[in-house]
Symmetry: C2
Subunit: 230 residues, 2 copies
DNA sequence: TTAATAGTGTCTGTCAGACACTATGTG
DNA sequence: CACATAGTGTCTGACAGACACTATTAA
């Protein structure tokens, strides 16, 4: 009942579900695999933990994201750990999965052959259990969007409340009342107005621009009541 | 930038935060360590993943809980994964932590020298990062109690609504209005009335007894609005 | 009847949903 | 001016908090 010291360790990797919104559609970043199982297939950016270099798992996630996508995501949160004998042809494996949220305005500079953005709605299957992982991440981001400010990290530096609402609605898959949405955003207290900047001129009243308050730029969620979809 | 196949794997373990309520106080199960680091100290029940025997991590958690405490917890959920170089004197380690909730009526039969129940309020320090893990688990159970039926797994087989409310209040650390609490419980739709059974006779109106509906006995939470503490 | 706890009726304040209204820019 | 989108005033219904009231048992 009490084996010697350490039994054979499983494979330990870290994967990241990197999400953004492109043209009102939720997209996930996929990388072309360079190594053994599923070489050449598109899968979540991931890699081994480097016991020598990584102080902890979130550091490993940040490093892997940087290496594979050249992106520093402002929001990175542990999603869950997926492990078992069924998910990798090499045998028992364990993957600590993080999910990250980024503005699509940041990804345009990053054109790489080994990286592509895929609408989550078009994903049918992925290597390993990555399809299930993506589903879990979508549930998480939708759930958090309902009561936290996390989704605001998908916005560009400055944005209008209307644009913010469109993002919210795209993520949640439904429409919300303008008045209710603005009251709710107010209650989050996550935004500060910014001088219009380059007001995009049009034949109507221009909107106030907002940016995430510094306290929210570097991390974390705010608790608040949720909002019903129409 | 692209190392050979698999770098040295970290130590991979599974720990379980097993919670119950004893005399309105939240308690956590601790086991006396039989192995190398911190031998003899009290720590969370944990153990290595057995790559040969465990199909996945939750199976490993169930096995470890059974081995260390002889308890089959009705509710077991992944809490988070804690990993890094700082948490184990042996070096870089990774622990997938589950949290479990059990009725104190189930633990009385399990008297073991290597297992004890400690009020969480008295915990000052624990081996590894287990103190921080316990804190995380407490936050989780409190948060879930606010909107789900998970805490009902701390109740015995049959219980009254008053007893349920006392449990809720003990967990949340505050009082709630009786009427509001009952409306809220109603909305969860997790209970079914059971024939009084052995009505504990006293000099007043006896209460209706309830039990968890079968659908809730085997797992999972229900979403509902939360309740304010007075 | 009294004591003591179980359980409910119901008023009220708060807040989200609805929606129409005002505000403010350009052509 | 018209037009289009930004932003607000405000009514209303739903529902949680408060709390007093009724119900039911044994002594």
């Amino acid at each position: 009942m009490n084996p010697q010291s350490a039994p054979p360790s499983p494979l330990v990797t870290v994967d990241v579900v990197l999400l953004t919104l492109i043209e009102q559609q939720l997209h996930v970043a996929l990388c072309k695999r360079e190594r053994d199982p599923f070489t050449g297939a598109w899968a979540l950016p991931g890699g081994y933990v480097h016991v020598q270099d990584d102080a902890d798992v979130i550091s490993a996630a940040e490093r892997i994201l940087r290496e594979k996508t050249k992106i520093d995501a402002p929001y990175l949160e542990q999603l869950a750990t997926f492990a078992g004998s069924h998910r990798d042809p090499r045998g028992w494996s364990l993957s600590v999965v993080y999910f990250a949220v980024v503005s699509s305005s940041l990804i345009e500079a990053q054109q790489q052959d080994s990286l592509k953005w895929v609408p989550v709605s078009t994903i049918r299957s992925l290597p390993f259990d990555h399809a299930a992982i993506v589903q879990t991440a979508i549930s998480r981001i939708q759930s958090k969007t309902g009561y936290s400010s996390v989704f605001m990290h998908m916005m560009p530096e400055k944005f209008t409340l209307s644009a913010l609402q469109e993002t919210y609605e795209a993520l949640m898959g439904g429409a919300v009342d303008k008045r209710s949405f603005r009251r709710w955003v107010d209650s989050l207290d996550a935004l500060k107005p910014v001088g219009s900047g380059d007001t995009p001129l049009a034949s109507h009243r221009p909107a106030q621009y907002y940016a995430l308050k510094p306290a929210f730029k570097t991390q974390l969620a705010v608790t608040a009541k949720s909002l019903d979809l129409k």
